[in-house]
Subunit: 130 residues, 2 copies
DNA sequence: ATAGTCACTTTCCTCTAGGTACCTACTATA
DNA sequence: TATAGTAGGTACCTAGAGGAAAGTGACTAT
């Protein structure tokens, strides 16, 4: 393990430690996780194929990968029913639900500021020198 | 452009539209943007090399790319001083600062729930069957 | 006998983000 | 003369993420 001196040095040089939100970003905002959590949050408990259909463009391989990761992180519970054909249900956990206000905050920022970003991009692109 | 019927169909099949936070996530939480914005927010106006040093592991090429993107999105202002050697300063904008409460919210969630994620991972990994 | 369902798994392939290393112009300094 | 400092640009390369498509196993319905 690293000593205190090392951890201080890390905090000065490691971007993960320099920004206190990096760890959360990796967990919550890695690719496909927001659509999955959002779908599970709004539509409730869902089967694999239902999730696939609701999200639309995700492939089964990637959906499995993301669900496993979310399960490991405690955001999602997987329930396997050994029937034929097999039935698996995914549900968002309490921990996953605790992200809801954060998502709402995000959506709120978006509704108020997304057009400003759009305008900034338009203005930037309007300058021919770049 | 697409009619209403098409937009409804899109909302059902396109993950970007299925989840109202996807657009913001792409803008705010793409790789390296949080450390950059965080550094600019806490340390104030900075020169290129200073940013490079503060963030630590980022390469100049990627730092340039991210800064250009953030500038285009209106999160950062670039001020070029045609001196020798050249001097360029980057500063966070009002729009960029408006993300601060969001980041604080994120950090707050992290401080209360990151250990739960850690525990969930530990428990998951403790089961030998996978 | 064949097809279909579900929840994946596996193989193969592509694409791109990101890293390394070198280049630019200009001046002050040793 | 040579080197350092500044803010990048550019060419090349690699690893890994992610997509497409087919396979799997166990059973059911036709």
């Amino acid at each position: 393990m690293a000593g205190d001196a090392d951890r201080v040095a890390d905090a000065a040089t490691d971007p993960e430690l320099a920004c206190p939100t990096s760890a959360v970003v990796d967990i919550v905002f890695s690719r496909w996780t927001t659509p999955i959590l959002w779908t599970l949050h709004t539509h409730g408990r869902q089967r694999f194929v239902e999730l696939e259909r609701l999200i639309g463009t995700i492939t089964p391989k990637v959906l499995t990968q993301r669900l496993r990761q979310l399960e490991r992180d405690g955001m999602v519970v997987r329930t396997y029913h050994p029937e034929v054909p097999p039935r698996v249900e995914y549900e968002i956990t309490e921990l996953g639900r605790s992200l809801a206000p954060l998502f709402a905050h995000l959506a709120e920022w978006a509704s108020g500021n997304l057009d400003k970003v759009e305008r900034a991009r338009h203005d930037y692109d309007a300058v021919p020198s770049r």
